[in-house]
């Protein structure tokens, strides 16, 4: 395997294998930035992996009052699933249970697109006949009476089928603390990139998975090749001195945005990484036969 050193950290010549997803962006506004964040965090909670969470979702960025339709502080949320119907169900349930319920919130489309997902168009039924539809500047909004006034929700939001899920970086290092700190830097850098989210806790995954298992019905199981405790027993991918591995998974509205995010992540990790004990940056793939999008680390940092 040919290898490349970046500021003393080995960048393995491999690629991240990613998959097509469907996704959308919605804008949540609230009376204060804090409440917009509360609604957004609640809505994107338990949305780490489509394996068992139904959707992958996260906060893309916060919005200032002059960036939102109603002039209040807002948050842009991205949500992804493997197909349109699932995305529709996830969107309805999450906005219905977490945004509609959040004090003072309003919810708007954040993506244009020929194909639409229902937003207020399905939540309006909560109004029990008292809901009102208002068209403003060609966009339809539903006003749903709630106990603190009205929940204003745009009727639909755009859908993209060009979204990509599963862009990733694996960070190997000589201590758990070093790897965690490097990954935290990477997530902060990726936060600045538009159109992407890192859906896992704090943007970081400790339990990378492989497809399948020795147990029937278990569709994914621990990625033993990267478990430091199993170096002696399995076909390990880890040098002996590597003590911990963490992964950053990136979902984005376009493949270009994923590449930008991975690039930002790699540079953040290598900045001071070697001194800290980071040894390798690599990426997860399944041999290249499962996902159509291949992000070669060498091309990304070129």
């Amino acid at each position: 395997m040919s290898e490349l050193k970046l500021k003393g950290v080995t960048v393995v010549d491999t690629f991240a294998e990613a998959f097509p997803m469907v996704g959308t962006r919605i804008i949540i506004t609230a009376p204060t930035p804090e409440w917009a964040l509360i609604a957004a965090r609640t809505m994107t909670g338990f949305a780490t992996s489509v394996i068992a969470a139904g959707a992958e979702a996260g906060i893309e960025r916060t919005l200032s009052p002059d960036e939102t339709l109603d002039g209040r502080p807002g948050v842009a949320v991205l949500i992804f699933t493997m197909d349109t119907n699932k995305l529709q169900v996830q969107l309805r349930n999450r906005v219905g249970q977490c945004v509609l319920t959040s004090p003072g919130s309003a919810c708007f489309a954040g993506l244009e697109g020929e194909k639409k997902l229902k937003l207020g168009a399905s939540l309006r039924f909560f109004g029990d006949g008292w809901q009102m539809s208002k068209k403003i500047g060609g966009r339809r909004f539903w006003r749903i009476p709630v106990m603190d006034g009205e929940f204003v929700c745009e009727a639909t939001t755009g859908l993209t089928k060009k979204a990509v899920g599963g862009g990733n970086l694996l960070v190997l290092g000589k201590s758990r603390a070093a790897v965690l700190s490097a990954c935290e830097r990477a997530v902060r850098a990726i936060d600045e990139v538009p159109e992407v989210i890192t859906p896992f806790p704090g943007g970081i995954v400790r339990s990378g998975s492989k497809v399948g298992s020795k147990y029937k019905g278990q569709i994914a199981s621990t990625n033993d090749a990267y478990c430091p405790t199993l170096k002696a027993a399995v076909k390990t991918a880890l040098p002996l001195e590597v003590e911990a591995v963490l992964e950053i998974v990136i979902d984005g509205l376009t493949k270009e945005s994923i590449a930008k995010a991975m690039r930002a992540g790699i540079h953040a990790i290598t900045d001071g990484g070697a001194e800290q004990g980071i040894t390798h940056i690599t990426a997860g793939n399944y041999g290249g036969n499962l996902g159509p999008h291949h992000f070669h680390l060498k091309e990304i940092i070129a």
């Binding site: 339709l69 109603d70 002039g71 309003a106 009102m132 208002k134 403003i136 204003v152």
Partner: protein, 267 residues
């Protein structure tokens, strides 16, 4: 290419039906064909060439100059492009129009924007009665688009309106929003009596407190409306600077009809 301009030669001796003069109907006609179009409304025949001096050649952009209150049906059925009226317009301005834009520098007669379903009309002066109301033979009034009246509006504004947005800069007559089915009317100044009479759904937004409110409207008190914030910001983006704020008194009615309509009295 300059705008196809129709300049009224003198005061016509009959009302004119200008509905044949829309960009879609004129785009394939030669100058002499346009001149021979009939626009009279009596037994005495009257052609375009008799009443108007024609200049320009771009049928995508029409201009009427020197028109008066007897020039009816300007822009009737308009679907796209723009018509500018440098003068007054008669009855049925933009009647049943579907799209495009009409700008009137003067005032308009009765039934301006009656049963229109899209596009926008801007009237710099006043509008007669039943603006955005029901055109003859229709069951509903305005069904979409936007009507801006910078001056005063006559009585029965938006009668049986179904959808769309009306702004009145001046005062409005009696029965504004009467029997309204849905849609929005924004009044920047005063309104006459019986606003919202028989209203089923829809919104009447008052910048000035109306002097008289029908007893069949019920008070919900004052509260915050995110809707007003969105509306104000959108209006600002279209060049209309109206301070709506985010608080309004809400009255629901007409309880003698369905009662799901609202009056929002801001400020």
């Amino acid at each position: 290419m300059s705008a196809l301009t129709f300049e009224l030669k003198g005061k016509p001796d009959q009302r004119l039906d200008l509905s044949p003069l829309t960009p879609a109907k004129l785009k394939d006609l030669k100058a002499n064909e346009i001149e021979s179009l009939t626009i009279g409304t009596t037994r005495r025949k009257l052609a375009v060439g008799d009443a108007f001096k024609i200049k320009g050649n771009d049928a995508g952009s029409l201009r009427f100059v020197g028109t008066d209150g007897r020039c009816d049906k300007i822009g009737a059925g308009l679907a796209e492009n723009e018509i500018v009226v440098d003068g007054d317009a008669g009855a049925y301005l933009g009647d049943a129009m579907k799209g495009g834009k009409i700008v009137v520098k003067g005032s308009a007669g009765v039934l301006a924007g009656a049963s229109m379903s899209g596009g926008s009309i801007v009237i710099d002066g006043n509008a007669g009665e039943r603006a955005a109301g029901i055109a003859v033979g229709e069951t509903l009034g305005m069904r979409g688009g936007q009507l801006t009246i910078k001056g005063n509006a006559g009585p029965m504004l938006g009668e049986r309106m179904r959808r769309g947005f009306v702004i009145v800069g001046g005062n409005t007559g009696d029965y504004a929003g009467g029997r309204m089915v849905a849609g929005t009317i924004l009044f920047k100044r005063g309104v006459g009596r019986y606003a919202g009479y028989g209203m089923r759904r829809g919104s009447l937004i008052f910048v000035e407190e109306p002097k008289e409110v029908l007893p069949t409207f019920g008070d919900c008190g004052v509260m915050e409306f995110d809707y007003l914030r969105i509306l104000e910001r959108w209006l600002r983006s279209t060049g209309e600077h109206i301070g709506l704020g985010d608080r309004a008194r809400r009255l629901m009615g007409d309880m003698a009809a369905l009662g799901k309509g609202e009056m929002l009295i801001v400020g």
